[in-house]
């Protein structure tokens, strides 16, 4: 979907009409995450944090991110984002920050946090459109020089508009990026706003230290792991995973001169034989220039590509968090008594490799009688909206939690003291809509999520039943403890041995667990025995 928008924007940009970029933004703001002031504020923070995390991970730096939100006027907020990432080379800063569509990630697929439409440039544009103020960018790559920019976007030409620029050689050695901007927004603390986004990001990225200095005070999320997850590998698209629009764009922009080259170079798992087979099936000359294909031809070729049998895509391109990081993330932020995490093996939906990870926190201080808290993530980014439409929500609701020790009525989210986390990692995340907040319920995806949840359920059930057993043991013990003083006192009266001595002995027996419950269950016929006698006897005494 996004590539369609981008294509349109590119066309608009080519026409170089000032209104068009603003118009484009206005028309598509709901797709870009700027539907309303609350969401706009979230989107800006999201873009900054996601960018920082991606940059740090790529540079193999344990992230330390600082986010500040301060209210300037009732409608205007000043946002500061600072990271310890690799920074951006001075010359690149204006283009990276203030030229729309610069540095596209297309055609090379890899698992990244992905962009909500326009990425950081959208933030600069949004700031400029709502407050008219430039965005300040400060960066250093660790060479002792620090770049200072004040940037806007020249919407007429889609070029950076540098308001001010200076380089200071103060010898201070640091690397990272600091962004300051002012936007129109609204700050509300809820389950679908900035505070929750940061909390969940801290959970899914436990190797990151995040400090959030918001309008209601400062919250620090310390780092609980010192290992970064493996860097995802780039892969070329698998033919079974692409859509026609993307296929056409690939045809147009390929560097290959013939179809054979195009198919073998630009896709994964397509060899020479397969490429020839595709062309033969489509009835198109394999030596034809890919950029010269007609609309009809491209469609026929696309269909043929889908029909040919190919190896499944490589699955080593993904970077799941792993069970250890999942546990660390949850343990850090949630006060529960039981944690479990599962990373499923890589699976494939429509040619796209993906990994599902599930984790649960149970008991402790979590509320007993409310619906469980479900945290959804795709590529380590929290999904806050459209919960009902999401494959993750559906998979949780259609799993039978009653057998695992949670309450559940019908096909709804279970009730009980639990937080369930599901992470979907893929090079291509299938969202149900452009707002990118809900996963599409492909059968292969649903199956993987449910398998992960069931595994968690089994572990939970073991814990819950063990807990019940311990509680029963405790209750039994309390019964004995309550009776021991009476028994000891009676025995003193019968035998003239001091009750204290007897009491101590009996308590010792409980402590040493000399008396097992099994032994105690030996005889049960006695009571019923008397009942028979009583029924037959109306002894009036």
């Amino acid at each position: 979907m996004v590539e369609e928008i981008v294509k349109k924007a590119e066309e608009m940009a080519k026409e170089q009409r000032a209104v068009s970029v603003s118009e484009f933004f206005e028309r598509n703001r709901h797709l870009l995450g700027y539907d309303n002031p609350t969401k706009a504020l979230l989107t800006v923070v999201k873009e900054i944090v996601d960018n920082s995390l991606d940059a740090c991970e790529e540079a193999r730096i344990l992230p330390k991110i600082y986010i500040e939100i301060k209210q300037k006027t009732p409608d205007v907020f000043r946002i500061v984002g600072k990271d310890n990432g690799p920074g951006i080379v001075d010359k690149q800063i204006p283009y990276t920050m203030a030229k729309l569509l610069y540095g596209s990630k297309f055609f090379k697929l890899y698992q990244s946090r992905g962009q909500q439409g326009l990425g950081i440039k959208g933030c600069v544009l949004y700031a400029q459109l709502t407050t008219g103020k430039p965005t300040t960018v400060i960066s250093s790559t660790g060479d002792g020089k620090t770049s200072y920019y004040e940037l806007m976007i020249d919407v007429k030409r889609n070029e950076p508009n540098i308001i001010s620029h200076r380089i200071e050689e103060d010898g201070r050695i640091w690397h990272g990026l600091k962004i300051e901007l002012e936007i129109e927004g609204r700050y509300i603390e809820s389950k679908t706003s900035v505070n929750e986004y940061i909390r969940q990001t801290a959970i899914a990225n436990p190797y990151a230290e995040i400090i959030f200095d918001g309008p209601n005070g400062k919250i620090e999320y310390p780092r609980s792991a010192n290992v970064l997850p493996a860097l995802p590998k780039e892969i070329k698209p698998h033919p079974h995973g692409i859509e026609l629009g993307m296929f056409r764009r690939m045809l147009e922009s390929t560097r290959s001169r013939n179809l054979i080259g195009f198919l073998t170079n630009d896709f994964s798992r397509v060899g020479r034989n397969s490429a020839e087979e595709v062309c033969k099936l489509a009835g198109i000359d394999a030596n034809k220039d890919p950029t010269k294909l007609s609309t009809e031809e491209s469609e026929v070729l696309f269909k043929a590509l889908k029909k040919v049998k190919l190896m499944r895509p490589p699955t080593d391109c993904l970077s799941p968090l792993g069970e250890d990081l999942l546990l660390k993330g949850l343990q850090k932020e949630i006060k529960a008594e039981f944690f479990a995490a599962v990373t499923r093996p890589t699976s494939v939906y429509r040619g796209n490799p993906f990994v599902v990870e599930c984790a649960i926190a149970y008991g402790g201080e979590l509320p007993q009688d409310s619906t469980i808290e479900l945290m959804r993530f795709s590529n380590k980014v929290p999904l806050l909206y459209q919960a009902g439409d999401c494959a993750i929500t559906k998979a949780v609701a259609t799993t039978d939690w009653k057998r695992y020790g949670l309450q559940q009525s019908g096909k709804s989210l279970p009730t009980g003291p639990a937080v369930i986390l599901v992470h979907f990692a893929s090079v291509w995340v299938p969202y149900v809509s452009e707002s990118k907040q809900a996963l599409a319920a492909y059968p292969a995806i649903m199956k993987e999520i449910k398998l992960g949840l069931q595994e968690l359920g089994r572990r939970l059930q073991k814990h819950v039943s063990g807990k019940k057993r311990a509680e029963m043991q405790k209750r039994r013990r309390q019964i004995f403890e309550r009776y021991i003083p009476e028994v000891a006192q009676s025995l003193q009266e019968l035998t003239d041995v001091k009750a204290d001595i007897i009491k101590r002995k009996l308590f010792e027996m409980i402590e040493k667990k000399q008396i097992t419950i099994e032994e105690a269950m030996e005889n049960v016929e006695e009571r019923s025995g008397r009942k028979i006698g009583e029924a037959r006897e109306e002894d009036s005494e």
Binding site: R482, S490, L491, E493, L494, M509, E522
Partner: protein, 354 residues
């Protein structure tokens, strides 16, 4: 008696010292552990017993209760005082510290514990100085001595003498009677007493007021053994009445361990039988037997101690006609019919069931 209680305590103590789950052996009082001793014609307890453990969630409380009762009994035996089982219940009832649980919630809980202790020690509660409410009355030409007082059973007016729970220490000074009549119903006793039946027929009259209390059963036994008196029992003509007869004669299942003291095998049954109904024209005064009555009657057929052809005939007759009758049915023939016609005729013809 005190020794037996102390012995129980020491046995439990030695188990605790050995690190064993402390327990009390309690003979099983169900039908499966009751045997009918053909030689003595009494119900006897078999040798099956159940262990009541302390470290058993299902038994811990009754174990504690048994010890509470035992220690209470040692106390009163030592002090040589007697108390009622109700008194004991109130004495032992209290709330356990740091809980909302009581040692006993109602007397129905402490009463069976007493029986447990009796059977466990093979003694009677009276020997443990526990007494029940007085139940049962007696009248006749007998003079006894009870706690130093002389009592003449013929000079107690309309009420008769209330039989105490413990009759062991009663001394018979004078017994002038040819036989004993035991009647289940208080109304029947009143009738015969007012009609001076015991005077006319030179007998002792005992009213049990339903299932006879142990004191009454013990008194019957003493009169039969010590004074060689024939005893005739009169009950309603139904399975419950007949079971009362069986308890007087052979002992009860609940107190099978004390049958030697409480059962009187020589007693005979004078009435009411199902045959009497036709014989005395009482058909109009009968009551339809309930399912429960019939079920009980079938059980009576299985009891070896009622294994006599006369009894089998009566019980089968009841099952066949599905009727029963109370002693009061005889009043249909006039209020004095019982004392002036029925009993004299039966006694004269020696029409008894074994």
């Amino acid at each position: 008696m005190e020794e037996k209680l102390v012995k129980l305590g020491k046995k439990i103590l030695s188990e605790i010292e050995a690190g064993k789950n402390p327990s009390i052996d309690i003979p099983i009082r169900s039908l499966s552990n009751i045997v009918f001793d053909e030689k003595t014609k009494l119900l006897k307890l078999g040798d099956k017993y159940a262990k009541r453990y302390f470290f058993n969630v299902a038994q811990a409380k009754s174990f504690m209760q048994t010890l509470l009762v035992a220690s209470f009994c040692r106390d009163i035996v030592k002090e040589n005082i007697h108390t009622s089982i109700r008194d004991m219940y109130y004495n032992l009832k209290r709330t356990l510290p740091n809980s909302d649980e009581n040692t006993f919630d109602e007397q129905a809980e402490s009463d069976p514990i007493i029986v447990d202790l009796e059977t466990s020690l093979g003694v009677l509660r009276e020997q443990l100085h526990l007494i029940a409410d007085r139940k049962g009355v007696v009248a006749g030409n007998v003079v006894i001595e009870d706690r130093g007082d002389e009592i003449d059973w013929s000079k107690l007016g309309s009420g008769g003498w209330s039989i105490p729970s413990a009759v062991e220490d009663i001394k018979f000074k004078k017994v002038k009677a040819d036989f004993v009549i035991v009647i289940e119903k208080n109304a029947g006793f009143e009738r015969l007493h007012e009609d001076k039946f015991w005077k006319k027929y030179n007998c002792i009259l005992i009213g049990t007021g339903g299932q006879p209390a142990r004191g009454t059963r013990r008194l019957i036994k003493r009169l039969a053994i010590e004074h060689n008196l024939p005893v005739y029992v009169m009950t309603d003509s139904d399975s419950y009445g007949w079971y009362i007869y069986s308890v007087i004669k052979s002992g009860s299942m609940a107190l099978a361990h004390a049958s030697d003291d409480l059962g009187t095998p020589s007693v005979k049954f004078i009435g009411l039988t199902i045959s009497d109904i036709e014989k005395y024209g009482l058909q109009k005064s009968t009551i339809k037997a309930t399912e429960q009555d019939l079920k009980r009657a079938k059980e009576l057929l299985e009891y070896p101690w009622l294994d006599h052809k006369e009894w089998k005939r009566e019980i089968k007759l009841m099952l066949q006609k599905k009727i029963k009758a109370e002693i009061e049915a005889l009043s249909a023939r006039g209020l004095k019919f019982l004392s002036e016609v029925y009993l004299p005729e039966k006694l004269e013809k020696k029409e008894f069931l074994p």
